[in-house]
């Protein structure tokens, strides 16, 4: 159940929303770039193995 945040509700909720959005964005972008680079490396390695 949502606690009663009184007159400071906006400040508290904005703090949580902004911080969690930034943290989630950081994790998601890091993982997406990690996957992309990993796939690219495998592609280059396979190509080099094929070409000797």
């Amino acid at each position: 159940m949502m606690p009663d945040l009184g007159k400071y509700a906006d400040a508290v909720l904005w703090s949580y929303a902004a911080s969690l959005a930034l943290l989630v964005a950081l994790v998601v972008l890091s993982v997406l770039r990690g996957r992309k680079i990993r796939a690219e490396m495998e592609k280059v390695e396979n190509r080099m193995t094929r070409n000797g």
Partner: protein
């Protein structure tokens, strides 16, 4: 095991293959434990702690503001150590770890600045003041941006690592100032340390301190932020190592025709 033997074991992780193999093994532990600590700590702090008698419900911002500020400073100190390792030992993994940590530091500093401004408005009556701690934190944020920009601006990665390491040494002054500005200049709106002060936590001094009701969930959030930072830096360092390998392979391919 002797100290020298332990140090030699540590240097083994300068080998990219060893680093990748070990980080892949330990990463799930860090991701899961950080998620547990953060979810439990934030839910505990947000839903199950009372309002402060002076600050009302804004005290709940502490669970994000303090851990992010802690990590903003310690991230730069970690970058300082890895930059020094690069300058002295020329281990590429350490330079790449510093590069990987910088965007994490930017986000931590941004969260600390944003939550500080949102908290400051109702408590101090202003979003921003040129207070020693706030100002040194803003300069630290600008140093982070400059650090990332310098890495992106220089094509040769060894030269970039050299120059960013020197920038990191210079910026360390502001990382330390962000932590101790209140002690150096006893003025401004921002309060002094009231959480990570041993005497405040144990009750050995009579200065203002954080009540244990708020301290325990805060401690859990701080542990969660530390674990998340480690997970992110390990993961992102692995990405940087692979990106460097792609560059090396493509260069070899070009040379061989």
């Amino acid at each position: 095991m002797s100290i020298a033997a332990k140090a030699n074991t540590l240097w083994e992780y300068a080998n990219p293959r060893k680093f990748l193999a070990t980080s892949e093994r330990v990463l799930p532990v860090f991701w899961i434990s950080s998620a547990i600590c953060l979810v439990v700590g934030l839910i505990w702090g947000f839903f199950f702690t009372p309002d402060d008698y002076k600050q009302g419900s804004t005290v709940k911002i502490i669970y994000l503001h303090v851990p992010s500020a802690l990590m903003a400073i310690n991230c730069w100190l970690m970058m300082l150590v890895t930059s020094l390792v690069w300058l002295v030992r020329r281990h590429h993994v350490s330079a790449l770890a510093a590069r990987a940590a910088a965007p994490v530091g930017i986000v931590m500093t941004l969260i600390a600045l944003a939550t500080g401004a949102i908290w400051g408005q109702p408590m101090w009556g202003t979003w921003w003041a040129w207070d020693p701690r706030l100002t040194s934190f803003l300069i630290l944020f600008l140093f982070y941006l400059g650090y990332v920009a310098l890495w992106e601006a220089i094509e040769d990665s060894d030269t970039a690592a050299d120059l960013t390491s020197v920038l990191c040494l210079v910026g360390s002054v502001f990382a330390l100032l962000s932590r101790y500005a209140v002690n150096f200049w006893n003025q401004g709106l921002h309060q002094g340390a009231s959480v990570m002060r041993a005497a405040a936590v144990t009750g050995a001094d009579t200065e203002e301190k954080v009540s244990n009701i708020y301290f325990y969930p805060l401690l859990l959030c701080m542990i969660g932020f530390v674990l998340l930072f480690i997970a992110l830096v390990l993961y992102r360092t692995g990405t940087e190592i692979r990106a460097r390998r792609i560059k090396a392979l493509l260069a070899r391919e070009r040379v061989s025709g």
